[in-house]
Point group: C2
Chain length 377, copies 2
C-alpha cells in the first residue's frame, strides 16, 4: 500500500514526507509546522531526525539554549524523501552552517556517505546513530523498521567522511552551539584559566583523558602574567586566579592566553555566572545587615552584569582577531542564561557551558573535525 501511494504521488509530482513524521519547521520564514511547541530563533543549524520525538525534544532544548535553527525535519520512515536527499540539500544551502542528524538506518549507504563527505568538507555534520547495539537494533527495527547494519563499518565510514559522531543526544546540541559560535581549534593544546583550583584540576584530567593537551606555560607568558596576578600565583596551566575579586584581572588573563602561541584553545572556568553569584551574595548579606541598602545591591548586580557582558564581548573580539576558540564554563547558571550568547554584528558568539565535561568533550570533537579538514580528504 505504502509503495503504491509513493508511486502515485511521484507520478502526480507530489512529495510525501514520512510516514511517522513530527513535521517540519523553518524559523527563517516563521514556519513552525510540527507537533513541537518549541519556537527556536532563526539560525544556522539544520536538524533532521528519523525519530520525531527525539527531534522535537532537540528542538525544545535548542530553543532553551539559544541555538538558532536553519530548519527542522522529522524524516520518519522515509518512504519518499530520505536522509540522503536532505544531505544533498544542505550541501548547497548557504544558510545551513551545521547539520545535525539522528538516524536509525540509511537506505543507500554509498550515496549517504558520499554526500556526507562532500557536506563535511564545507560544513560539519554531527550524527547520533540509534541502534548501535543489539538491544538498540531490536528497538529500532520495531520503531522505524531500520535494517541491521555493521557498526564497525558504519563507524569507519563516519571517520573517513569526516562525520562527527556522538554517543548521547545532548552532545548534538553542544556541538551545534560550538560549531555555530566559535572558530575551530588549530590543534589539541588547551590553556585553562580558573577562579578556583578544583575545577581546574578536574578540567585538566578531562582534557588529557579525551586526548587534548594542557601544555606547561613557557617563560614569556609566565613573565606577562607576572605583571597581572599577585606574586603567589601558580605559574602553571591552569592559571588559577585564586578568587581574585578584581574584575579587570580575568579580562587581562584571557587576552594573554588567547594571544599565547602555546595554545590552540582557551577554556575559562568560573568567570561567567558571577552576576548570579553576586546577586545571591548581596541578597544574603542584606538579609542580616541592615546597612546594606538597595543601592549597594543594585550596584553589585550592575557591575557583575556589565563584567559578564564585557567578558563575552572581549572573548568574541579575540576570537575574531586571532581565530582561536574560547569556551566558558559558568560558575552558576539560571534559566535566563543560554549556552549561546549572541553579540550582534560579530561573526562569533559567546559559548557558555554549565560543566567542564561539556566544554572538553566538545573541544575534543572540534579538534578531530579540524584534523579531517586538514587531511585533504
Amino acid at each position: 500500500l505504502e509503495y503504491d501511494l509513493v508511486n502515485a504521488a511521484r507520478k502526480a509530482g507530489i512529495t510525501i514526507l514520512g510516514p511517522n513524521t513530527m513535521g517540519i519547521a523553518n524559523p527563517h520564514i516563521n514556519l513552525h509546522c510540527s507537533a513541537s511547541t518549541a519556537m527556536p530563533r532563526a539560525g544556522k543549524t539544520a536538524i533532521v531526525a528519523q525519530s520525531g520525538n527525539l527531534g522535537t525534544q532537540l528542538l525544545a532544548f535548542a530553543t532553551e539554549q539559544g541555538i538558532g535553527i536553519r530548519g527542522f525535519c522529522g524524516s520518519g520512515n522515509e518512504a519518499m524523501v530520505s536522509i540522503e536527499d536532505f544531505l544533498e540539500g544542505f550541501e548547497v544551502d548557504e544558510k545551513t552552517r551545521v547539520v545535525l542528524l539522528y538516524i536509525e538506518s540509511v537506505k543507500n549507504g554509498r550515496r549517504f556517505f558520499e554526500a556526507a563527505q562532500r557536506v563535511s568538507c564545507r560544513k560539519p555534520v554531527v550524527l547520533l546513530k540509534g541502534g548501535r547495539t543489539s538491544a538498540g537494533k531490536r528497538a529500532a527495527a520495531s520503531h522505524t523498521g531500520a535494517m541491521l547494519s555493521d557498526d564497525r563499518v558504519f563507524d569507519a565510514m563516519c571517520r573517513q567522511s569526516g562525520v562527527i559522531k556522538v554517543d548521547q543526544p545532548m552532545e548534538l546540541l553542544d556541538l551545534a552551539a560550538a560549531l555555530a559560535s566559535i572558530p575551530l581549534p588549530r590543534g589539541p593544546r588547551v590553556a585553562i584559566m580558573t577562579w578556583g583550583g578544583g575545577w581546574g584540576v578536574v578540567t585538566c584530567d578531562l582534557c588529557q583523558l579525551r586526548g587534548l593537551e594542557v601544555p606547561a606555560l613557557d617563560q614569556p607568558i609566565v613573565n606577562r602574567i607576572d605583571t597581572i596576578l599577585p606574586p603567589y600565583w601558580s605559574r602553571a596551566n591552569p592559571v588559577d586566579l585564586v578568587g581574585d575579586p578584581d574584575l579587570s584581572t580575568p579580562m587581562s588573563i584571557l587576552e594573554e592566553l588567547v594571544r599565547w602561541d602555546g595554545c590552540d584553545a582557551v577554556i575559562n572556568l568560573g568567570m561567567m555566572g558571577r552576576r548570579l553569584f553576586s546577586e545571591r551574595f548581596t541578597t544574603a548579606v542584606a538579609a542580616v545587615d541592615p546597612k546594606t541598602t538597595l543601592e549597594i545591591l543594585e550596584n553589585a548586580r550592575r557591575i557583575t552584569a556589565d563584567f559578564e557582558l564585557n567578558f563575552i564581548r572581549r572573548s568574541v573580539d579575540l576570537m575574531q582577531e586571532l581565530e582561536k576558540p574560547v569556551v566558558a564554563v559558568s560558575l552558576l547558571k539560571d534559566h535566563s542564561d543560554q549556552t549561546v550568547h549572541r553579540i550582534p554584528g560579530s561573526r562569533y558568539n559567546g559559548l557558555v557551558y554549565e560543566t567542564p565535561e561539556r566544554a572538553v568533550n566538545t573541544l575534543e570533537k572540534l579538534v578531530a573535525y579540524k584534523r579531517f579538514l586538514r587531511s585533504g580528504f
Copy 2:
C-alpha cells in the same frame, strides 16, 4: 609555620579546618557557614571536598536539583582534619545515608580505604578523584599540594572497597539523588517504557553500552500489556506508548513493568514533563484559536499537573512495595522542576533526570554497588 600552628592548636584542644577551605554547612541545624550562597534543604547526603570552589558549586547544584544535604565541608589542605577523619564520622552518623567525596590526595591510604570499605558496607561512598592524569596531577600539586599516586592502584582499591568512582563532577549529584531516592536494583535487567520510539532506541543503546541488559518481554507480560495498549503496539522492550494521549495508560504500563519478574529496574521516558508540554501546547493553540478559553487552558494544565503528581506517587508506592527502582526521564523540564521529587511520608522519592544518559549512567553504577554489597566483601 603551619606545622607549629597545628601542634599549638592540638595542645590547646582546638580543631583547625583547612587551610584553604570554603567552610562548612549543616542544614539540619540551619548552619550555613561557607562562602557559598546556596542554602540546600536538610537531607541525607554528606559532601566533603578538598576543593572549596568545586564543593560549593556542588552545593549550589544540589540546591537547584532538590537534593537534601546532611552536611558540607571544604576540607582544603587538611593540616589537621583529614578526609579519613570525615569518613570515620560518617560511618557512625545515622543521618548520613550517602557520602560524596572530591579528593586530590589521601594522606594515609591504608586508613582511608579501610574506613571507605567499612562505610561502603553500610552506606554508599561516591568519589571523584582530581589529578588522575599527568596534567591533572601537576594542577593538583599546585592547588592543594597533592602528592602523586598511582591511579591503577587507587582504582583497584576503590573497586575492592566498594567505593563508587565517577569521572565527572555532575555524576556525584546524579548518584546522590538516586541513592537517597530509590532502592538498589537487584540486577542489570532494565525495562523501558517510552512515549516515542527514538528515545527508547537511544536508551537501549546506552544501556547495552554500559553493561545493562534490556531483556525481551516474555509471553505473560505481553499478554497483560495486550489488554492495555492498542493492538498495533510493538510487543517489545522498550514498550512504546506511541504517543497515546490517555493518561491512565502510563500508570498501568508502569505498574505491569515494575511487577514484572523479568526486570530489575524500570526507566520511563517522556511521562514526566507533560504538564509543561500541555501548557505550551494549549498556549500555542490559544494564540490562534479565539475559542480556546482560559478555562480550557486551566483545565489542561491541572489535568497534566495532577497526572505528573500521581505518576510520581505511584512510582514511589511501587518502589516501596516491590523494592525495585523506577527512574524517570522527562520530556521537558523548566527551572521549577527538580531531580528529586519528595513525597512526604514515603521512604523513597520520585527521581527525574533530564536525559536518558544520566539515568543509564546512574543505574549502571547502582548495579555495581549492589554487586559489591552482595559479594560479602
